[in-house]
Symmetry: C2
Subunit: 390 residues, 2 copies
């Protein structure tokens, strides 16, 4: 196993002794296994056992968490193990009911919990840092605005948002771009707060928060936007998103944006993440989104931006704030929960840093619609229905 860790400068330490290690001295960190069962588990099903054993302190990391996970990620095999592949056969079916249950598992942990470590607008997706040292609050607002500008939103347009979290984007679009939004979500805790905010900001007449599955969207809209929802749809349901897009986006002048965690090549979600953090999740490739959602929906890709380093930075700032709030989280949710979430945040940061995860923003239009602008640099105003700029 020490061999399989190489070339990561991480030393394996067993319950009774350390193992031969010939990497850089001193190592970046130690991976400490407390008993034999963990070792066997890691050999048999490393993805699942790493998280399970870390959570319960049967596996510990001595040294800086993110750099050690980063080093382990770099030495990871390009191909997932056979067990990982097989385990995906038992993935959640993500029907309307199980999808709701899966979303609630994560997002209904309590608004108070997320308020401890998210930004002030409670945006739980990748931020956009105009400069790498921008503050989190500023970077999340910059992300909301980036999405609006890429879509060239115009006053009075109708927007459908699939998966709206605590409503920050919906409210931003309505307030700063004058659009009308229907925002779908199946997390009750999130919706309650979102509605409260809309009322407080006087936007209840422009933004409707709807407690329903994205599959039940009805009507035609100028704009479709979804930020951080696609990861929860599941591999088997990518075609369902295509059907929704085809049905609900106006053909002439319509446009959309998908913001999602993506992969370079297909790979199952880490088994531990799927069990403990995001049940029912699947991280699609850009090719899958293109061939299984956009093409069958009759959409053309206009623009793709990969913001993976921005997500690594976002996660680092979340982890800092999480650490500050650790005592509080621990007293409410227990030590195991604390450690699981520390691993989830640090492991995700490492995955974005090392390129195992990507963050794609994809702008698209119906094929026979014009792209929303002549060049990216254009003033932020959409092209007219047929060729203002031609």
């Amino acid at each position: 196993m020490q061999r399989s860790l190489a070339p990561a400068p991480v030393r394996l330490v067993l319950w009774d002794k350390s193992t031969p290690y010939d990497g850089p001295d001193p190592p970046l960190g130690d991976l400490i296994l407390r008993d034999r069962a963990v070792l066997v588990g890691l050999v048999m099903n490393p993805d699942l056992w790493f998280g399970e054993a870390y959570t319960t302190r049967r596996l510990e990391i001595r040294g800086p968490l993110v750099p050690v996970l980063d080093a382990l990620s770099r030495s990871a095999a390009a191909e997932p193990s056979w067990l990982t592949r097989v385990s995906t056969l038992f993935a959640s079916p993500n029907g309307v009911r199980s999808a709701r249950r899966n979303v609630q598992h994560h997002y209904d942990l309590g608004n108070d919990f997320y308020r401890l470590w998210l930004d002030e607008d409670m945006v739980y997706t990748c931020a956009y840092f105009p400069t790498p040292d921008a503050a989190l609050d500023e970077a999340q607002r910059a992300k909301l605005d980036l999405v609006c500008r890429k879509l060239r939103l115009r006053p009075e347009e109708s927007v459908i948002e699939a998966g709206c979290g605590w409503g920050a984007l919906a409210l931003h679009m309505a307030q700063h771009y004058g659009v009308r939004v229907k925002a779908f979500n199946v997390s009750r805790e999130q919706l309650a707060l979102a509605r409260e905010r809309a009322a407080r900001e006087g936007l209840s007449n422009r933004v409707e928060f709807i407690d329903d599955d994205y599959r039940n969207v009805r009507g035609r809209f100028d704009v479709f936007v979804s930020v951080g929802m696609l990861e929860h749809v599941g591999r088997a349901h990518l075609g369902t998103v295509a059907a929704v897009l085809r049905r609900c986006l106006r053909r002439d002048g319509g446009r959309g944006l998908l913001h999602f965690i993506g992969r370079d090549a297909p790979r199952p979600v880490n088994a531990w993440i799927r069990r403990r953090i995001f049940p029912g999740s699947y991280i699609p490739t850009l090719a899958q989104v293109s061939a299984r959602i956009l093409a069958p929906a009759g959409m053309s890709v206009v623009d793709v931006e990969n913001l993976r380093l921005h997500y690594a930075r976002t996660l680092a700032l979340w982890a800092d704030r999480y650490t500050e709030a650790r005592d509080h989280v621990r007293s409410n949710l227990g030590e195991d929960f604390c450690r699981a979430w520390e691993l989830y945040l640090a492991g995700s940061e490492a995955a974005f840093r090392t390129g195992w995860l990507q963050l794609f923003q994809v702008v698209f239009t119906p094929r026979d619609s014009l792209p929303p602008y002549w060049t990216r640099d254009d003033p932020h105003q959409a092209l007219g229905a047929r060729g203002d700029a031609m």
Copy 2:
């Protein structure tokens, strides 16, 4: 057949009479068939017969060429006919020898011919118009520069260019960005002129023009760039491009750009275009490029821009210049050739206007390399090897 043309406002006129037409009056244009065989051919194999009959005046279009083709494109079926599908089984294998023959069919028509209607730098790919009314010369230079800036070229870096045309990009990169370029091409006519230019501009020591197939690229380079070559690779050889990328791009800090005509969904190339204009060509989808070239090469997509309206504009300007040079072309190459090229230019413009063809610029890096910039707006300088901006 008149029914199948609807909803295009185009009237079908047969050799002996016109057919029932109930579209807008007057129609946008007439489609005139001179004999019964053309009608039968169009029903059986429309893609091939349309071009063949137009070339020989057995089919004529009365009215403005691009708008009529545009209208016909809009009414085209989303799915290609069975005959079109079957005919692709006999597509060129594009081995090293046939690929060379296919390229020479088109690009060795003579530099004098292309000089008649291309821009002064002889760039035979989609231009980039900073504003829609920019001149062609300016727009082609803007495109060359856009490619260099997206790649964040730095002095003394090594660049491989696969398919270099008459050398405009290679020379631009060397002159304005101080890089060293090895540029591959299998068109002798193009290479001869490219070498002459390099000598004239004093760049022969920085730019090497190589008469060889892209598959024979050897060595490791900082940057890989290919503008308008992928369309000639052929569907069966996309994996070969992956192997070349994996082999020749430096893992740490390497980056690349593919500029190519693309599709939303897989579809065979128009049979007439494949026979008369671009033998061996295949227009890939973004998903195919992503899943069959970039993913197996271990590359991450950093940025995608769709410039289809810019290609429509480029083709319109080429067609204008072609029309001015028509008498000259006709006297050298004959009327059939003239008409075939008019149809090719006008049909391509219509396809880019109506979204049947896309123009993608894709920037990518090896997975474990950093993206070349923190944000798109960053000064045009590549990030250092590991995280200047982190």
